[in-house]
């Protein structure tokens, strides 16, 4: 087998999959839905900003808690552009905008970027050593433009750099080995301040290093307060920047006093805080022309208040100007400045209030009109833009992050839009049936099990009961008919949760890393049915979900966290059935659904594969495969011994020394086989090796860059087949999937082919392996006639000895890009062909590769014979172009997919798809085309028109002919 060296015509490659499947334009938004998300905005990195100084319109910018930088149109809440900064999900980061400049600066991890604020293009990128601690814009520069100040920490070294804002070159670098904890960098008109924590853990003092703006030379060093005044970096509340008098504020550990220092001065002032304060925030304008006023927002457990302070520029004295009353419930304060005026906006649960920083007089007050009367979201933080329309007339718009993780814009008290940002950052999800006709199924079952007479009576009464729904049903008939003819029935979003005959309406339960649960209606464009906080008691953040399982018979969804907590909710309403906080149960590594005498349940597996003692009736019937502490995997069987079930290890698999297991894939629970063999072109049959107890294990040796893929029998632990690939990059995605009688693995490889001509290959590859019972057609190998009962433990006796091994056919394909999250479509009966769904992390889309393309039996180096062509085999070409027409997500930009879930619909042709991660995307795919449903291409109007035309034609012709015949008879 070798790769042909001739150049491949792209036209041929493009033509190959075109006939298989593509999305029709009119299906967009009809079969699929997409929640385009950013993540929950962070307090420090969200603001309104004008992308072009000459333009009055401003955009809303945020760097979210997932590391996504995005610009949102404040008019409608639509995303203008977004960038995933680090290439993966990271919390933290810094975002600053330069007033009157066209760029924004971000810092995340170790790199500093500048982006064009209108188009989202990169202006420049710099990578440094160490971690970014702070980022600030330097307003006053000699060259008229604005520069960026970045503060890095490189083990024990504090590094501050001034970076030219326009072209991203480093103007100067300040480096000091001092073992301090660098906190923030700040700037005022003539100086740069680097604020660090000096000392050792739990007894720090604040140190301010004053630098020259032009050269970066150290001018002064000020130690603020006594040793031990600051215990941890979080105690420093705020370091202002770019104002006429930037301040640094910190509190003692018990939140009783606030200490404030004007940067550059030596003195500090203390102010008492409200009793029982739990949180203190400081809001100050970030422009140098604004008045040097700031607001201290103090939160107690139930209420919040604010104090406004003024800084005297001459004496650096800080005085309290006024305070805003203590109000029950949470409030969000935000600052907005225009010229020297500073406005403070307070958003409470009931109203929006704006005040000027100068006096406590209320400039505007709007009651908050919430869409839902029942529950009012509490604002956590927000940003606002205050516009002075006339002397006494103000308008305000605030973008508020609520405690429900929604991002809402409130314009003068009215909710303008709400973005469900809480849906982002999902870590686990499951499909669940809508639990309504389960009742019917149960009644039918009950009827079947009673004596005939009572079953008959029960049935008659049930039908009589159902008569009450008849009028409503009849009423709905005309509208349904019209909607069906016009094809508009599925484009409208219905508010009710109901099943449909096609099985498209299903629930999706999502768990996010912020500890929220969401119920989505997959049949209604992913509408959020319910959402709730999963952990009433604060659990670990981010939430580490070990497993999620939907019990469709009961209508419950169980979510198990890694710290032993679990919650059981109703899938349709989200009501908690049972919950257990963290810490009461031992930590859980994963959990698996097992079948037991007491019904299926979610068995938690502890760290290192430890399984707690199980009551006899709950003993799993299957072999459980767990990871071991040594990095291997093992199989465990349960044997009941008295009241308890005792685990018996049956086998253990440890990869060779140096290899680490990176991926384990098993066949899905629902993986029906429609045919046990493949009929070849010459009418012979190749029997599939269909062992339900198989597991694909990918282990990689990072030093030798070797990937080994093992296929294990999970009952006996026997290796059925293994293959080794050299030159595989362990740092890049390695993904595997198993279905039916085939499995595949994708990886990045660069290696020399062991061929007569020395050829090297480099690229993203996927290896497909088919398993058959025998190499020969019409042969079941040792599984032939007399062995009807196959057992993994008692291998079929073979003359050659050893266990029965399948015959394997493999092919390697080179993909045009990396793929991850490999999933195989599932259909109800498994008749429709399968499609491999994979997320393309670089191209931000989900691709559906037909199984026919990934076929190991494609002939190499020759055209297929007519018999092979009849089977649908085409000539092997090593490259698979991930053609845009194969993209399930078509034009959509689906970001950060973590997992793709598939679920069979009631229709055999269709498989439901859900992808989650940063975004949530759902669609339907029909790998063998939609053969059992009329698509949008079926023109019902044309059909009706044709029938009507025929009827009319007959109606017109019939009298004519009758007349003619009567005439003819008379003329005879």
């Amino acid at each position: 087998m070798h790769f042909p060296t001739q150049t491949l015509s792209i036209a041929v490659l493009l033509a190959l999959p075109a006939a298989v499947r593509a999305v029709f334009k009119d299906e967009v938004g009809h079969i699929d839905y997409h929640h385009q998300l950013l993540g929950v905005p962070q307090r420090e990195t969200t603001f309104f900003h004008r992308p072009r100084p000459e333009d009055r319109a401003s955009l809303l910018y945020t760097l979210s808690d997932l590391g996504v930088l995005g610009a949102v149109n404040p008019g409608n809440g639509a995303i203008v552009w977004r960038q995933l900064l680090d290439g993966n999900i990271t919390e933290g980061g810094h975002l600053r905008a330069a007033e009157d400049e066209t760029w924004l600066a971000t810092a995340l991890g170790s790199s500093v970027h500048a982006w064009d604020s209108l188009t989202g293009r990169n202006a420049w990128t710099l990578d440094f050593d160490g971690a970014v601690k702070d980022l600030e814009i330097m307003e006053m520069t000699a060259n008229g433009g604005k520069d960026v100040l970045a503060l890095h920490e490189e083990d024990g070294t504090t590094v501050a750099r001034r970076i030219h804002g326009g072209d991203g070159r480093v103007v100067w670098e300040f480096r000091e080995v001092n073992n301090d904890v660098p906190l923030q960098v700040s700037t005022s008109a003539g100086k740069v301040f680097v604020v660090t924590l000096h000392g050792s853990l739990l007894s720090y003092s604040l140190k301010v290093v004053v630098l020259d703006t032009v050269t970066g030379k150290k001018l002064d060093e000020i130690i603020l307060g006594t040793k031990g005044e600051v215990q941890k970096p979080e105690d420093v509340m705020f370091v202002g920047a770019n104002s006429a008098a930037p301040v640094v504020a910190w509190t003692d550990n018990t939140l009783t006093k606030l200490k404030v220092n004007v940067l550059g001065s030596k003195g500090r002032q203390e102010f008492p805080l409200v009793a029982d304060a739990v949180e203190v925030e400081i809001h100050a304008p970030h422009t140098s022309q604004s008045s040097p006023h700031f607001l201290v927002h103090t939160r107690t457990a139930t209420a919040s208040k604010a104090d406004v302070y003024h800084v005297d520029l001459k004496s650096n004295a800080i005085s309290k100007a006024y305070d805003l009353p203590l109000l029950e419930g949470g409030s969000a304060f935000s600052t907005s400045s225009s010229a020297s005026n500073v406005y403070f906006t307070r958003v409470t649960a009931d109203e929006v209030i704006i005040t000027s920083s100068v006096s406590h007089g209320v400039l505007g007050r709007w009651p908050l009109k919430s869409k839902t009367e029942t529950e009012k979201p509490t604002a956590v933080h927000g940003v606002s833009e205050v516009v002075k329309k006339a002397e006494d007339n103000y308008a305000v718009r605030s973008a508020i992050v609520t405690d429900a993780d929604d991002w809402t814009q409130i314009v003068n008290g009215d909710v303008a839009w709400t973005r469900p940002e809480g849906l982002s950052g999902a870590v686990a999800a499951t499909w669940a049936e809508i639990p309504e006709s389960e009742d019917l199924a149960r009644t039918l079952e009950a009827e079947a099990h009673t004596d005939p007479w009572s079953a008959f009576v029960h049935r008659v009464t049930r039908h009589v009961d159902e008569l009450q729904y008849l009028p409503a049903y009849l009423q709905a008939v005309p509208s349904r008919l019209v909607a069906s003819i016009l094809g508009s029935e599925t484009s409208t979003v219905s508010d009710t949760l109901s099943r449909d005959s096609f099985g498209f309406n299903k629930l999706v339960v999502l768990a996010t890393k912020r500890g929220k649960l969401y119920g989505l209606d997959a049949g209604n464009h992913g509408r959020i049915v319910w959402s709730k906080k999963a952990n009433e008691t604060p659990g670990a953040k981010p939430w580490d979900v070990a497993a999620i399982h939907a019990d469709d018979a009961k209508g419950f969804v169980t979510v198990r966290g890694a710290n032993g907590e679990f919650i059981i909710v109703k899938s349709d309403t989200g009501k908690t059935v049972e919950s257990m906080p963290t810490g009461l149960f031992p930590p859980v590594e994963s959990a698996v659904v097992v079948d037991s005498d007491a019904g299926p349940w979610l068995l938690p597996i502890g760290k290192g594969g430890k399984i707690a003692e199980i009551n006899g009736s709950y003993a799993p019937k299957e072999t459980i495969v767990t990871r071991t502490e040594e990095g291997g995997i093992r199989g465990v069987k349960f044997v009941s011994e008295g009241n308890q079930a005792v685990e018996i290890p049956t086998w253990e698999f440890n990869p060779p020394p140096g290899q680490k297991i990176v991926e384990v894939a098993s066949r899905a629970k629902h993986d029906p086989i429609a045919s046990i063999g493949r009929v070849l072109g010459d009418r012979t049959v190749k029997y599939k090796y269909l062992n339900p107890n198989t597991l694909v294990v990918a282990a990689v040796d990072e030093q030798a860059e070797v990937l080994s893929v093992y296929l294990l029998d999970t009952v006996s632990g026997q290796i059925l087949t293994s293959s080794t690939y050299e030159g595989v990059d362990a740092a890049k995605d390695i993904a595997c999937a198993v279905a039916e009688n085939w499995f595949l693995c994708s990886f990045f490889g660069a290696y020399k082919l062991r061929d007569s001509q020395a050829q090297t290959l480099k690229g993203y590859q996927v290896v497909v392996s088919d398993l058959y019972e025998s190499d020969l057609p019409n042969d079941r190998g040792s599984l032939g006639d007399d062995t009807l009962n196959f057992s993994s433990l008692d291998p079929v006796d073979r003359p050659a000895g050893g266990p029965y091994l399948p015959s394997v056919a493999s092919k390697t394909f080179v993909l045009s890009g990396p793929v991850s999250c490999l999933t195989v479509t599932k259909t109800r009966q498994g008749v429709a062909s399968r499609q491999l769904l994979a997320y393309m992390p670089e191209a931000h889309g989900i691709v559906g590769i037909p199984r026919l393309v990934l076929e190991p039996r494609r002939p190499v180096g020759r055209d297929p014979t007519p018999a092979e062509a009849e089977e649908g085999l085409s000539r092997y070409v090593p490259a698979i172009e991930l053609d845009p027409r194969l993209h399930v997500t078509h034009r959509r930009d689906v970001l950060g997919v973590r997992e793709i879930l598939t679920c069979p619909a009631a229709l055999e042709s269709t498989s439901l798809v859900l992808a989650y991660g940063i975004d949530v995307y759902g669609s339907r795919v029909a790998p063998s085309l939609a053969f059992d449903i009329l698509g949008k291409g079926f023109n019902k109007l044309a059909l009706l028109g044709t029938v009507a035309a025929l009827v009319m034609g007959v109606g017109v012709l019939r009298p004519m002919i009758r007349k003619k015949q009567i005439d003819a008879r008379w003329k005879q």
């Binding site: 990169n122 440094f128 030159g727």
Partner: protein
């Protein structure tokens, strides 16, 4: 099954180079042992893609090799700037939602000791997926020099995600062979009697004589009842029109019978 050698040739080659690393770094960071360079890929202005402004903001490019991965976002100038790139043979891809780009092979090598100072040389070629890595296409010329130098990526075309649905077309229906056959037979049944009508009476009589003799006539006429009798036809039509119950058969039989009836009736 594939068999392959321990093909870590590239890796060993470059670790040797790393050992002799000089101070050829062009990056701001000097702590790295390996020489580094900055590499730029540019999107040229082509008829297919006149301006890089048409590309979505998330367009980015990647450089991939065994054990190395670099990612660069699209800049406002329509370029991708990779910083701190160490020597290696990289696969460069541009990922974009709107346009497809040809992959490149980018080699970053230390030039052989040209004097004392070692220089990092970057070269780029087009590469073909699924082919030998050494099977390079045309070398992509480097535009500009030093830091400003860059390689142009080739635009393959606009990405077409959707397929057109086969719409309703009258011509498409007419092309169907069944419809064509039907049309031909309709022409025969309707047009032939008209043709006969317009014939010269003598010739017509002659032709009719011939028809009676030929076995075809008995076949064609014999399909319906005792051939030439007009009464037979009348019965049929009366049955059709009078009872009207057999709607299904109405269209075709009437038209064909009517033609025959007319022919016979005039006689």
């Amino acid at each position: 099954m594939y068999t392959r050698q321990a093909g870590v040739l590239l890796g060993t080659l470059f670790s040797c180079l790393a050992a002799t690393a000089g101070a050829a770094s062009s990056s701001s960071s000097s702590s790295h042992a390996q020489p580094q360079t900055t590499l730029t890929l540019r999107i040229p202005s082509t008829p297919q893609l006149p301006s890089a402004h048409a590309l979505p903001a998330w367009t980015h490019a990647t450089l991939t090799a065994l054990g190395a991965a670099h990612d660069a976002p699209l800049t406002a100038a329509g370029a991708f700037v990779f910083r701190n790139v160490t020597p290696g043979s990289y696969l460069a891809d541009v990922h974009c939602g709107a346009y497809a780009f040809a992959p490149l092979r980018v080699d970053v090598v230390l030039s052989e000791t040209s004097g004392k100072e070692e220089k990092v040389v970057v070269r780029a070629w087009e590469t073909y997926r699924g082919n030998d890595w050494e099977n390079k296409g045309q070398e992509v010329p480097r535009s500009g020099s030093g830091e400003d130098g860059g390689f142009a990526v080739r635009v393959l075309g606009y990405k077409e995600y959707f397929v057109e649905r086969g719409g309703f077309s009258v011509f498409g229906i007419l092309k169907n062979p069944m419809i064509l056959m039907g049309l031909v037979s309709m022409v025969l049944f309707i047009g032939l009697p008209k043709l006969i009508e317009n014939m010269d009476p003598e010739m017509r009589a002659e032709w009719e004589e011939q028809q009676k003799k030929s076995p075809m006539a008995s076949l064609m006429g014999g399909g319906q009842q005792p051939g030439a009798s007009p009464m037979g036809n009348f019965d049929m039509a009366a049955y059709m029109a009078g009872q009207g119950s057999n709607k299904k058969d109405e269209g075709e039989p009437t038209s064909s019978n009517n033609g025959g009836g007319k022919k016979n009736g005039k006689r």
